[in-house]
Symmetry: C2
DNA sequence: CTTAGTACTTAGTGGTTACTAGGTAACTGC
DNA sequence: GCAGTTACCTAGTAACCACTAAGTACTAAG
């Protein structure tokens, strides 16, 4: 529990907002790398240069920190996607209905390609949280429905049922992202997405 | 460590092969539910009605048990897939080159639809093992290459490059399976696969 | 300058982790 | 039926887990 004397010498007290942000960033990176059950409170606290108790002062429990991480990401991501599509953030979900599916997907993929750490966080937690015992289980059940509705709402001739359509899009995107995360050197996400989605959408022969 | 007296009374000594099989089955189920880092040796041992030390007598370490689980599954799965396609198990990888991609995929999907527990094991570990610190990291790197080669080898006009083609197939299949695992009541895996793959392959309009 | 609030510390809690040493008792080969 | 092997047990280990209580030192309001 005790900090090394060198670290204690330069220890600093941050404004609560700044410290929370720092903790959430570190947690995002570490949980994305090893999963929620593969990371300890101590790991995250050490990455911020504070003690376990110091971290828990801000979030109370490890579970609460995870929820904070996810809620923060959702907001940041929605905002950045809306900006990318030229839409007001609070009208994202309605405005997207008027756009072509290909354009919406391209924007999502382009954004994701810039933040592998975040994509990894969601990919790892999505699988880890399949069990109801996981603290993010309910969150990911709700998120799944939200994302399917999101990708099902733009007009497209991919499949007549919007739920099936949304599921097909998220399945292709999620699966391709896993290949990309495993081997980012050899897999260029936007290129591979264009090839896969172009094929699924139009069936245009490519050879 | 001590077993409850009721369990100690009916404790039994099994042949090593039988006990190993029982342990691997229990580990498959539990690791599939909660991931490798979400399950303890004690959990798995308890599921078999033996002590931690009793389990470790057979496998030495928790890591070694995981490897045993994966190697066992690979063999069983290859055999069952070969049987389904009417191929000798040891010629699976060559024989599949002569088959239509759609047929190979349909066989894989049909088999997977019958064993959600196994699909879950691979889905959870595939994400968890993205980090090099995971004991199954090397295994999943090798497996990724093997599976891409497998799905890239049958003839198909999906994409001219067999590596890209293999990646596209495993991406779609993997992604769809995650949707199915999350909500098996509402997602019928073979039906959804046929819709998605049919679209990706031929581009035939469906509405 | 004083005081109230709080960010963060040390020092613990009881529980769990993977794993080991050494013993017992059930099988197996002869 | 005896001897050797081994499946499995009890009983530990040290390290780690999330979390708590109580104190200290910094900051900001008045």
């Amino acid at each position: 529990m005790r900090l090394a004397s060198a670290e204690r010498a330069k220890r600093q007290r941050l404004a609560p907002g700044d410290r929370r942000t720092q903790i959430i960033d570190a947690a995002t990176r570490l949980i994305g790398q090893r999963g929620f059950w593969g990371v300890s409170v101590h790991d995250i606290a050490a990455a911020c240069g504070i003690t376990d108790a110091g971290l828990l002062h801000h979030f109370g429990t490890k579970d609460a920190l995870l929820i904070a991480v996810l809620e923060r990401r959702d907001k940041v991501d929605d905002d950045s996607l809306a900006r990318r599509l030229g839409i007001e953030p609070d009208r994202l979900y309605e405005a997207v209905r008027g756009l072509p599916l290909a354009e919406v997907c391209a924007a999502v993929v382009a954004r994701n390609a810039e933040q592998p750490e975040i994509v990894r966080l969601y990919s790892v937690l999505n699988a880890e949280s399949l069990t109801p015992a996981h603290p993010a289980h309910d969150y990911f059940v709700a998120r799944e429905a939200r994302v399917i509705a999101f990708f099902g709402s733009p007009r497209s001739d991919l499949h007549p049922d919007p739920v099936v359509r949304g599921r097909q899009v998220i399945a292709m995107m999620d699966g391709l992202q896993l290949r990309w995360l495993r081997d980012p050197e050899r897999v260029d996400l936007p290129t591979e997405w264009a090839a896969l989605f172009g094929r699924a959408l139009s069936g245009v022969a490519q050879s």
